[in-house]
Symmetry: C2
Subunit: 524 residues, 2 copies
């Protein structure tokens, strides 16, 4: 496969020369809005009318995609090539939700089948918990599930849980169990979560692929100490999600253990049992299966080579244009849906941990900017907060809006002729146009220059399937951008140095002078 | 007063010429860590050893402060000058927690006294709620309080509530009432919050200075509809925090109304009754008074002209150096305390809404970068997420760490020779040094260039007083930066255009073609 740095490609060289931002302020007509749109799966559309692109730029981006064989590289990943070059691993999270490439077999083990078996084991376990066949120490059925994990074992599953909570909790369907999360090694986190729970009826899921994550193991022991103080038997209240080779595997300290492997990166693990155990326990296997089906459809659609028919690829390439031609270092993710309140935090990890890299897949320094900083909060809340900066600050921040026709729940109220959901949508439409077109005003304080680009991912409703497809969209977008930048989007060496220095502090031995001084300040 | 643009000052011109980032990688010794530190109030210290400054740069920043009379401008604000030039308003949030300047009197009304009277009214009301003298429709005492507000009426009070929740809930002191927040016009927000409450024993605080905020009024009616459906009398479950001239003032639809005025901006209102009502109801007046005292001490200490003795001023100026000399457009805020989980979201509003401006206080375009983008999540969580980008991404992002010797609660566990709190602190010390000094490695994937600047705000424990001082630190830091950039940090015209366009959509009449097309997509 033709792995090249962006600056070594003909299209990339043009992009990296830089460009004046296209003035789409006047160009943004109703016609353009209708034309610059692409249909995705599960009801999604990606609208890029308010992005600084035109036919010429889109042609250039198509050429870049072809020249760099972006879709062929994706196909290689699906076929089980070792694309995580740093850690020498395959990248197989797509196999947790379906199969699109060849069979991936290792030591006689079909990986897709392995993931499916583990899913089925979680489904069967959840059924037993829901039916009351598996109970806690005192013989009461479990009604609450708490995930103990950090990073990818926390942010994705938490964002997905919150996204489905409104849909499940308030619609006719009954949520099977309520859920909570403990992540931070700060003991205040575990203390606060536990203080609100009935421990007798609470099941804990310990999630660590390696089985050695410091924060997670500390929180496990923290929770077990509290269970014991409450005369509850920890091994009747704990299951583990881990790899088969971890110390947590097949361990009598847990009711059961469910397995993943090294081919599923933490931040890509929401569709594995890392997300699957808690989501299935909370909402039931049917809901989780719908979620997986949505993600699988997104994976399938990302194989399209025509960028104007592949939302993930097009979104990725427009992002590259903004980052490398226009030099914009940030992107705001703004969902107009309270259910997606923590989706930006998940994307922040997914994108920044994947593409915040300075060396290419062969370990050579890259000569161009890679992944942007990602941040965001739900609208309309953000409108009353940091949007001021996005509208009138001295920097241009590209925006990714997400919006829906309908709220999660039908219950709504009509005030001054419109429902809350209609107001939410009216605000969204207004913001897109305000950012793009601006508005001249004699009062310079009230003058808006416009020219602030945004895109809109739109759907009818945030169903489990739509959520899965949304997740798949961003996972695949980020992968395509990684290919463009010729980096390895699937390792994360950036956290290692901190771990080594942390150990030095905890060992209390020979420390660098500065480290010792900071340890002293913090009274360690 | 000598209001000048940054580029019109001698020191500013030097800064704006730009500078190569100082190589403090080698310079960061234990000695430097001990030297580059300044004591604040309420136990705070601000350590800037890992910031890219040296004696020469600090001298330049002192000159800038003197040349621009930054502390004198602050004194003018305290004395009631009309520093919000756009809206022609005084800026008096400091008066909600004490008085440092002259009496501010308007139409015979002493503003400090007015704020105090309103505080006392909230205290008296809270006492009656806590004692059960004021009850709900069915005669049951209130045990829950819900704030309905958005932007500054939500983010600050919510962040402060979460910060104090662990401290109060788990220590021996009993929390008076539990609290929740409804902000988004998305009906899923109100639905989800209400679904977890016993409405009989819930008191709602409606917060809108103007009394006309669309989201807040929609949510008020939403909640009232649900109360009526539950046969509860809304006027026995609602109080308002608003201005005396708003339609919510002195209105029989509420149990009572508490007043603020136009001199308290939304994002600066946590120490007014916007924060005071819910925090006093939740934790009692003694806790809120401690919080105010901490903020007042911070205000007092910000009057020091020697930048090496004024943490807020020094923090502000180092930020200016990073923004305008080094050209860094973002800042990450990373508290190593779960209790501060939403403090970065509050700071994001406080900073970006205040200083995300492109025109100066006289309405002329500025020729330099103003306020940065702010984002952040608590550590250690962020270490397992976006820190990869901060360590090895192609952009340098300055960092503001916040850390404590002790957790909120004493309950902890010893694992492998250290408590969770000790691990938390060891991680913090390790990260500061890892970012600053990096680490060479033959494997380019594991190589860390270092040179990534950070500062540390440190305290023994996050008490109510320490929290107030921390809030005051950032409010004053942002104010000083606004003076350096010669902008008005106290208006927010950037949200107005969206409001106008939203009304156009809701009116359904003549709309710009693009707006109509987006309204069609969203099926409005």
């Amino acid at each position: 496969m033709n792995y090249q740095n962006l600056n070594e490609t003909a299209s990339g060289a043009i992009i990296l020369k830089g460009a004046r931002p296209l003035d789409f302020t006047q160009e943004l007509t109703g016609e353009r809005v209708k034309k610059y749109t692409v249909s995705g799966v599960q009801g999604w559309t990606y609208n890029y009318a308010a992005k600084p692109v035109n036919e010429e730029i889109l042609n250039l981006l198509q050429n870049l995609s072809d020249e760099m064989s972006l879709v062929d590289k994706y196909q290689d990943l699906l076929n089980g090539e070792m694309v995580n070059t740093g850690e020498k691993r395959k990248v197989l999270h797509q196999l947790t939700r379906g199969q699109l490439g060849k069979d991936v077999v290792e030591n006689g083990k079909n990986i897709r089948k392995f993931y499916q078996e583990q899913q089925e084991r979680v489904y069967a376990f959840s059924d037993k918990v829901h039916s009351g066949a598996i109970k806690g120490t005192t013989g009461k059925a479990f009604d609450t599930v708490v995930q103990i994990g950090i990073g990818g074992s926390d942010l994705g599953p938490r964002a997905m849980y919150l996204a489905l909570e409104s849909y499940q909790k308030i619609t006719k369907k009954t949520q099977k169990m309520k859920a909570a999360f403990i992540s931070n090694v700060d003991p205040d986190d575990a203390n606060l979560v536990l203080s609100g729970l009935n421990l007798e009826t609470t099941l804990f899921i310990l999630v660590s692929k390696s089985g050695t994550t410091q924060e997670t193991l500390s929180n496990e022991l923290f929770v077990k100490k509290v269970l014991l103080e409450n005369k509850l038997d920890p091994k009747k209240h704990f299951v583990a999600v881990t790899s088969e080779t971890s110390p947590l595997a097949n361990n009598p300290a847990y009711l059961d253990s469910f397995y993943i492997d090294d081919y599923i990166g933490g931040r890509y693990s929401s569709t594995s049992n890392v997300g699957g155990a808690i989501l299935t326990l909370a909402f039931g296997k049917e809901v989780f299966a719908e979620f997986l089906a949505g993600a699988h459809e997104a994976d399938k659609s990302a194989q399209e080579k025509n960028i104007l028919k592949n939302p993930a690829l097009l979104d990725a390439l427009i992002g590259v244009w903004e980052r490398n031609a226009l030099g914009l270092p940030m992107t705001a993710v703004l969902p107009y849906s309270q259910a997606l309140s923590r989706f930006p935090a998940h994307l922040q990890q997914l994108d920044m941990e994947s593409n915040g890299k300075s060396v290419n897949r062969d370990g050579k320094a890259v000569a161009y900017a890679t992944g942007p900083v990602i941040f965001g909060e739900p609208g309309t809340n953000g409108q009353h907060s940091f949007y001021q900066h996005l509208h009138q600050g001295t920097d241009v921040v590209p925006i990714q809006f997400i919006g829906f026709d309908e709220s999660q729940v039908a219950y709504d109220i009509d005030v001054e002729g419109s429902t809350s959901q209609t107001k939410l949508k009216a605000n969204l439409a207004a913001q897109i146009v305000a950012f793009a077109k601006g508005s001249p005003n004699e009062n310079p304080n009230k003058n808006f220059a416009g020219g602030r680009p945004s895109s809109l991912l739109h759907n009818k409703k945030l169903t489990p399937g739509a959520l899965g497809a949304l997740l798949g969209h961003f996972e695949n977008k980020i992968m395509f951008q990684g290919y463009v930048w010729n980096i390895n989007s699937f390792d994360q060496e950036g956290v290692q140095l901190g771990k080594i220095l942390t150990k030095a502090v905890l060992a209390g031995g020979a420390m660098d002078g500065a480290l010792k001084a900071y340890a002293d300040i913090l009274k360690i």
